[in-house]
């Protein structure tokens, strides 16, 4: 007996995210072009004439991050498909009336996630080089590490959001849960530096130095483990989705 085609399920997932994929694509171009133009202007253009060099450095970090954020957003695409499933609960009843098993559906969604992640990674690494060129710097290991870490974080949030939506059968509750986890991650990330930062007044230039040193430290120590972390996140996603899709109404 032939099982439902995996390709059919992937096809459905792609149809669900088609519109958002296009929107992300266009948005990404803006998110990439805009910072590159600003950086080039800092180096060669009008901004170099009007803004002192020491005032630029704080903004530089955010500007350099923008394209990486755009690339990382592609990892969130599968959670959009999840939100569409939740908005149409009858799909789950229909799915259960067919031969599509919980395992096959969980696998299709996980593969979709891997595709989104791959696009993120493929875009983020060349972007790191483009940004470095525009900023007049060279790409360091930490720059690559930052890209990988950011994509890993976005992947983690996508998995949390998607699983939470399916578990609570609600986009709002899934979003609240993800916000909670995000807040916990930010607090956890900032905690080691809180002691030093709270001693300094707001806008003190030393704050940037402390944050940059801390960030570099994290990247150096954690980034090498991102491949393992990504594998772990993907496996956890599959297990969570399998558990959720196997649940029957009581």
């Amino acid at each position: 007996m032939k099982k439902p085609s995996f390709a059919a399920l992937l096809y459905r997932e792609l149809l669900l995210i088609k519109k958002l994929l296009l929107a992300y694509g266009i948005g990404s171009l803006i998110f990439i072009l805009f910072p590159v133009l600003i950086l080039l202007s800092f180096r060669f253009g009008n901004l170099k004439l009007i803004i002192p060099e020491d005032a630029i450095s704080g903004s530089m970090t955010i500007i350099k991050l923008m394209p990486i954020m755009a690339a990382g957003m592609f990892a969130m695409l599968p959670s959009d498909a999840a939100s569409k499933d939740i908005a149409k609960p009858i799909w789950d009843y229909f799915r259960r009336s067919t031969q599509v098993s919980a395992a096959r559906l969980a696998l299709a969604k996980t593969v979709m996630n891997i595709i989104g992640l791959t696009v993120s990674l493929i875009i983020s690494i060349p972007l790191t080089y483009i940004i470095a060129y525009a900023a007049g710097t060279t790409v360091t290991g930490n720059d690559i590490g930052l890209s990988l870490l950011f994509v890993t974080f976005m992947e983690f949030m996508s998995v949390v959001f998607g699983a939470a939506m399916y578990y609570f059968k609600s986009v709002d509750k899934g979003g609240l849960f993800m916000s909670g986890i995000t807040a916990a991650c930010v607090v956890g990330f900032m905690t080691p530096t809180m002691g030093e930062l709270t001693k300094l007044p707001p806008n003190h230039p030393q704050r940037d130095v402390i944050m940059e040193a801390y960030l570099n430290d994290v990247i150096t120590n954690v980034a090498p483990f991102t491949p393992l972390m990504l594998i772990g996140v993907i496996l956890i996603q599959f297990a969570l989705l399998l558990f959720i899709f196997k649940r029957r109404e009581k």
């Binding site: 007996m1 032939k2 439902p4 085609s5 390709a7 059919a8 399920l9 096809y11 459905r12 149809l15 669900l16 088609k18 519109k19 569409k84 149409k88 009858i90 799909w91 009843y93 229909f94 799915r95 259960r96 009336s97 067919t98 031969q99 599509v100 098993s101 029957r248 109404e249 009581k250």
Partner: protein
């Protein structure tokens, strides 16, 4: 598939929720027939169907679909059944072509030619998004897909609710054609009894989780009748001889479940034929006994 007499066999089906219990429901859908599954809103029709499809776990009872156990042989069965719901399960951004492509991958028996013929027959546009379809068009698309993969059992959960009479008639015609192959069967839940009057071979009536009637429609209609009399004459009618009675200023109408016996016992009374809607109405009010 193995040989079987009944497309659906339900025995002692029980499912408990807070405030509602599907209580020991048993009925069969003979192969080659269409079973009208009737009851008012909240009677337990959808719960029964979800249990059949193993969407919901049952607390007790056994279910066989196409002669096979609905849990042990779940995947084998689901190749040969199609469920149609009151709401289209495909996303609004899809179109008919995309739905067909998806189904081609989901079912090994998918017949693209047949699907195309149904789309033409129903005049459904292929490239228009489902979001722009009317309710009737959405239902026709669902049915087109359901009937294009060689399903032997069609399970319809309130699928004709909210459709206009013209569309409902079109759909009923399709079902008559589907049943010309005697291997095919339909379970159709509805509270639109006029549709079932037209098409059903068998009827099962459920109310508040309890099975009240099941059997061949013609036999049920033949055995039931509406006894009409004055209020004074109604006092002579024994309570156990009628299901319930509608009392108005103009007289009394009482539903009897054994028309022949009632004719014999109350020979002076007018006992008319009835229909499924009236049967449903009077059975729903059986606890009140007299109502208006």
């Amino acid at each position: 598939m193995n040989d079987y007499t009944n497309a659906i066999e339900i025995s002692g089906l029980t499912k408990k929720y807070d405030g509602f219990t599907l209580d020991n429901v048993s009925f069969n859908v003979p192969k080659g027939s269409i079973m009208g599954f009737i009851g008012q809103n909240g009677a337990g029709k959808t719960t029964t169907i979800r249990t059949l499809l193993n969407i919901t776990k049952c607390d007790a009872g056994s279910i066989k679909l196409l002669g096979l156990d609905h849990i042990q042989n779940e995947y084998e069965i689901k190749e040969h059944i199609a469920a149609v719901f009151d709401e289209i399960p495909f996303h609004e951004s899809f179109n008919a072509i995309q739905v067909g492509k998806m189904f081609r991958g989901l079912y090994s028996g998918w017949d693209e030619q047949k699907y195309s013929e149904y789309l033409d027959r129903f005049s459904l546009p292929r490239k228009k998004k489902i979001a722009k379809f009317s309710k009737g068009m959405k239902m026709k698309l669902q049915i087109s897909a359901a009937l294009s993969h060689g399903a032997r059992l069609l399970i319809m959960d309130e699928a004709t609710t909210g459709l206009d009479p013209v569309v409902r008639n079109e759909i009923l015609d399709i079902f008559r054609e589907y049943l010309q192959d005697e291997e095919n069967s339909i379970l159709m839940s509805s509270h639109i009894t006029s549709d079932l009057d037209k098409i059903a071979d068998c009827v099962t009536f459920i109310d508040k989780g309890k099975l009240l009637l099941t059997g061949y429609k013609d036999e049920i209609l033949e055995s039931h009748g509406l006894l009409k009399c004055s209020k004074d004459d109604f006092k002579e009618i024994a309570s156990e001889d009628y299901i319930s009675a509608r009392v108005t200023d103009f007289g009394v109408e009482a539903m009897v479940s054994d028309r022949a016996k009632a004719k014999q016992k109350y020979s002076g009374a007018l006992i008319e034929k009835t229909n499924l809607e009236e049967i449903m109405l009077f059975y729903v009010n059986r606890e009140k006994k007299e109502w208006s």
